[in-house]
């Protein structure tokens, strides 16, 4: 430990004979030791700023999260959001996240938020308002973070209240690697979207509205791959745009629309990847630019 300084206990060097009584010397040593301890611990605690400053690990935060700085400040690191998520999408930060220790995030490729809880249970569970339906007035909304209208949850489309109470997006989907996108190459898809070993789960309305099942248990068969579009839980958030290269092959690219909330289901379900990255990904905290 940095503040462990056994030297402070040893008698001072030959040159300077310590002044004062034995009691005073003990007290002085104790004072030095205590100062070192204070400096050491506070110094270590301040190191927690490094991962935050370098933003080396920008994270996709759960729905309803305040802006990053406010989120880290207001989160009490209790993980109640983790406990209520029906698809276990939420994970907590570690020591390497510095001040983000114990703060929830989502690794969309592993397990995205598919809103199978219907209402943002994590937001309801949050005791401090770090995840919130209603941002307090004194906190500004970044331009393009605000959703033009409340997103309609496809699963609830026939319900009297089909919307999700989410006013700001978590991020924004982006076709990062069009060169590997199956639809862009005019290819279909057949089989398990992420292979047999994939642990991620999702709610399928035609299987069970209340119980998410493993993606691996729900194989697909598509003439032209459109998984990111059909599996998107939000209405009008993404669509296929057909392109004509004049070669007679039916091709399309997914086009992200303004209603995209950045939940990451498209990133999770995308069956192809290169360089550890799916064809379509979610950029956390990204805002909509018209």
């Amino acid at each position: 430990m940095s503040d462990n300084n056994p030297e402070s206990d040893a008698p001072a060097g030959k040159a300077t004979k310590p002044a004062g009584s034995a009691k005073q010397r003990t007290a002085r040593r104790r004072f030095i030791r205590s100062s070192l301890l204070t400096g050491g611990i506070v110094g270590l605690a301040l190191l927690g700023y490094l991962p935050v400053a370098r933003a080396s690990r920008t994270r996709l935060r759960p729905p309803g999260a305040l802006d990053e700085k406010d989120f880290l400040a207001s989160c009490i690191k209790c993980g109640q959001c983790v406990q209520v998520c029906p698809v276990q999408a939420i994970k907590l930060g570690d020591l390497t996240d510095g001040y983000g220790i114990g703060v929830p995030h989502i690794d969309a490729r592993e397990q995205a938020c598919d809103f199978s809880c219907d209402a943002g249970q994590c937001i309801l569970a949050c005791p401090t308002g770090a995840l919130t339906y209603d941002k307090p007035g004194f906190l500004a909304v970044r331009r393009g973070a605000h959703l033009a209208r409340l997103p309609i949850l496809k699963a609830k489309e026939k319900d009297p209240e089909p919307t999700l109470n989410l006013k700001e997006r978590m991020g924004l989907a982006r076709l990062a690697q069009p060169q590997i996108c199956l639809a862009a190459q005019g290819q279909g898809f057949k089989g398990q979207a992420r292979g047999a070993g994939f642990k991620g789960t999702m709610r399928y309305m035609d299987v069970d509205r209340w119980k998410p099942i493993p993606v691996a248990d729900h194989p697909y068969e598509r003439e032209l791959c459109d998984l990111c579009v059909t599996e998107c839980p939000i209405k009008d958030a993404i669509r296929l745009k057909f392109v004509d290269n004049g070669d007679g092959v039916k091709r399309a690219v997914p086009e992200v629309l303004e209603q995209c909330v950045g939940c990451g289901v498209c990133e999770m379900i995308c069956p192809v990847e290169a360089g550890g990255m799916a064809a379509i990904v979610v950029d956390e905290r990204k805002t909509w630019e018209a």
């Binding site: 206990d9 301890l37 506070v42 301040l46 207001s74 690191k77 209790c78 109640q80 570690d94 114990g102």
Partner: protein
């Protein structure tokens, strides 16, 4: 009220003082002990011989501490939803509970308090006012238990003269409390939580092991090889926060001067021996005294005292019974 202020200052780091005056009753007892020295020694010997070695309160406390933490763990693992969350904040069958120090950090860093945060904090505040403030430390905090086990190792090494205990100034903890509060206000981050072994351990138990456990292990090694119970004694602001709550708590350890032989066994086992300075010969200004707010109500002294001079007591209730 003088003794109240005195106790508070001792908790913040001041050395306890020899009393200037004694109550007539205490004066009498002190005098008697000096007069009948032979009797006093004989009685001391007799009590020693008939001492029952017991760990009654320690065992009860460990059982409670493990049960509480297990309830957190099982609530998540088995989805029984009794006590959801972690020690920093949770919900007990739906009611918000929020750790006072974590709440303080969040309030200072975020500078905005929502109703649920306030309700949870108030609930926990009243809970620990009733139960004794730092009772949280010894009866709930998982780091306390682990540190207790490693303390046993430290004491063994000290006995073998392989290591020595390096004391820090007790006021260091007060400095930490102020510094971490200021850091939360100024930086807008909950700086303390990054290193808090209480939060780290609680989350690790519930959500699975993390790299942060390495830090907790380092702390424990520091305590084993360098300074006995250093984190709890000289650093942890959580302890001081709950200590403040304990100042108004009716539940405390009670000391009876007439039953004490001033042997000091209690101070040897105590996490915060300065609260037991009253048991030193000539220090008790009254015949019956409450132990100060920094006491974690762990009961080790109650178990250790051969003559029953230290007991649990509830202010107001004692007289009724």
């Amino acid at each position: 009220m003088k003794s109240f202020k005195e106790k508070l200052l001792v908790m913040l780091g001041r050395e306890s003082q020899k009393p200037a005056t004694y109550s007539p009753e205490a004066e009498q007892i002190h005098k008697l002990k000096r007069l009948n020295k032979a009797d006093f020694e004989a009685m001391k010997q007799h009590t020693r011989e008939h001492q029952l070695l017991q760990h009654k309160w320690r065992n009860r406390r460990w059982a409670v501490l493990i049960a509480v933490n297990l309830l957190f763990v099982l609530s998540f693992w088995l989805d029984i939803q009794m006590l959801e969350g972690a020690l920093t904040a949770s919900r007990f069958v739906g009611f918000h509970l929020i750790d006072l120090n974590s709440a303080l950090q969040v309030m200072l860093a975020h500078k905005h308090i929502i109703v649920n945060l306030l309700i949870g904090t108030a609930t926990v505040f009243f809970l620990w006012v009733l139960l004794g403030g730092r009772t949280f430390c010894s009866w709930v905090c998982p780091y306390h238990l682990v540190a207790e086990w490693f303390e046993a190792l430290h004491l063994k090494l000290v006995e073998k003269k392989w290591v020595t205990d390096h004391e820090f100034h007790r006021g260091t903890r007060t400095v930490f409390w102020v510094l971490f509060s200021l850091l939360a206000i100024v930086t807008g981050y909950t700086v303390f939580e990054t290193l808090s072994p209480t939060g780290i351990l609680s989350r690790a138990l519930i959500y699975g092991p993390s790299l942060a456990l390495a830090w907790v292990f380092l702390l424990l090694m520091f305590e084993v090889f360098y300074s006995r119970r250093a984190w709890c004694r000289y650093v942890c602001p959580i302890g001081l926060t709950y200590g403040m709550v304990g100042t108004v708590s009716p539940l405390r350890i009670v000391y009876r001067l007439d039953k004490c032989f001033h042997e000091g066994d209690c101070r040897k086992v105590c996490l915060v021996p300065h609260v037991l300075d009253v048991v030193i010969k000539g220090r008790a200004e009254e015949a019956v005294m409450s132990i100060g707010p920094d006491c974690t109500r762990c009961g080790l002294c109650v178990d250790t005292c051969p003559s029953g001079a230290l007991t649990y007591g509830v202010k107001g209730l004692d007289k009724l019974l």
